[in-house]
Subunit: 310 residues, 2 copies
């Protein structure tokens, strides 16, 4: 994989966010082949699984095995999503480098997603951080503020409450807190305003932009976030994914198109586009009945195109 | 239709760019119903036809009739594309308010598209302007620089040559000159750089951004153009369209998604989104076998959404 410095970090969330939103259960060996291909393309951070009860998400039943496999890939940051302390303990035991905890800014979505109030989730973050401090001090903890730009259940979400929550989770010990447009509601003006406020509120603990393309604004919103200083972006190969608890909120930003946009702009992602396109093959083989999205894989790169990452 | 001032002008090109790129010939009465619906939604400028030999584009054989109909809609700016003086004379006779002449910055594309060199096209613009001055001084003449961001035939297009051409056509008398990403090659950095240079070179004669979504960057590129002061945007309802002479270059920016982006950002388009979505019905009825694109019509506007245009 590419080891030269990059300008932005593309964090691939497909093996977690993508797979958990579809019914097909991808086999462990297919997940490994897909993660291998992403790694070979230069992807340096992958959210490989979520640690939740297998009854709830059978797609993630092999989370520990997938984490252990991903850890054999030198230099790769292996992330997992955990909704609670129990999941965090399992993820740490499996050996993840980084945990991400979704904390919803929408009171309604929080109850629907994890059956906890926002305050209870902040307390969960505090307990996870305490456990991490005691047992695995090198593991990073991220708390992503979901439904930060609006909620399909309650509609508008107060920006003050988003910032309050980001402050609360970092005060509770999270190393960073990013913002997620779980529902695909965000627009570029809102993106700029809220990421600026996030930076003002929590400084260099301000984390990734996790944006969806539900209304076609995914890349425009990534551009807007980049323009106010965000350098870490979540996306999903083939656009697989979304949140099963936010009706109609399918569609992560497509990794291939996002990487193309940045590389075309002269911004290094560290990812090789040809190899990234090739990573669609093991993904499609593993979930043969799912539709993969992505405009650039279909249209090809422009004639004469030169990527920023060499 | 809405008559309060708008912040941006959305120029609908579907009846010309959209229809001329598909094989189906839409009937004149279906075109009228579609134009009616666009007008009712608040669209204030429509490129309704191109004046070219019917043998070449049978879809446009009724251009004069469509122009005459569109002119009955009070306040609507009726545009037509013309590739040469002959087309311009026919369009002016039909009564258009505004002509648009495509002038390709790519030497290869210019020959393929109109079988003329770029210098010959500048001369064509000069003759059209002269005819306009003599016979229809109120008609506006726009010369759009196509393949301004790259060409599927020759690859890279020199930015100096793009600016030289924009200066040449305005010196030849065109009232304005915009830039077209005919091939869907543009990226936001290139968009900003080239539209800034355009403004520096030709001042307030700098015209519309005509951008395609071939590689998914359509809205990001519109955002980038807006951020450097562009306020006039071409787009196509349902994303119908493209250039039949630039292989693989399908996909105008989708009007519905573009209007949604601006309205969500608090930027007035003068267009009512609900009525705009309704305008898809006569379009689809008129070309029943064509696929319409658009993310917002499918996902709906966010819960609690408020448009800037009231």
């Amino acid at each position: 994989m590419n080891s030269s410095p990059t300008d932005v970090l593309i964090s691939e969330v497909g093996p977690r966010d993508g797979l958990q939103s579809i019914k097909t259960v991808m086999s462990t060996s297919d997940k490994q082949k897909w993660i291998d291909a992403l790694y070979k393309a230069g992807v340096s951070e992958i959210e490989v699984a979520s640690f939740v009860p297998p009854k709830l998400l059978p797609q993630m039943a092999d989370a520990a095995e997938v984490v252990r496999y991903a850890k054999t890939l030198t230099g790769l940051t292996v992330m997992a999503l955990v909704p609670n302390l129990k999941g965090a303990i399992a993820a740490i035991e499996a050996g993840v480098h980084k945990l991400t905890i979704p904390v919803s800014a929408s009171a309604a979505h929080s109850m629907a997603n994890v059956r906890k109030t926002r305050e209870e989730m902040v307390d969960e973050v505090r307990q996870i951080v305490q456990y991490r401090n005691d047992w695995a001090p090198l593991v990073k903890v991220e708390a992503g503020i979901s439904t930060a730009f609006g909620c399909t259940l309650q509609g508008l979400v107060s920006e003050d409450e988003v910032i309050w929550l980001a402050e609360a989770v970092t005060t509770a010990g999270a190393d960073e807190s990013g913002l997620s447009d779980t529902t695909g509601y965000a627009n570029p003006v809102q993106i700029k305003r809220l990421f600026k406020r996030l930076k003002e509120a929590i400084g260099n603990k301000a984390g990734a932009a996790h944006l969806h393309n539900t209304r076609g604004l995914g890349l425009a919103n990534c551009l807007a976030a980049y323009e106010v200083g965000v350098t870490s972006f979540d996306s999903s190969l083939g656009g697989l994914g979304g949140c099963p608890y936010a009706p109609g909120a399918s569609g992560n930003v497509v990794t291939e198109d996002l990487v193309f946009m940045f590389e075309a702009m002269g911004i290094k992602t560290g990812i090789n586009l040809d190899l990234l396109f090739q990573a669609r093959e093991p993904l499609q083989s593993g979930v043969p009945h799912e539709t993969l999205y992505g405009m650039v894989p279909e249209a090809g790169v422009p004639k004469g195109f030169e990527a920023a990452t060499k």
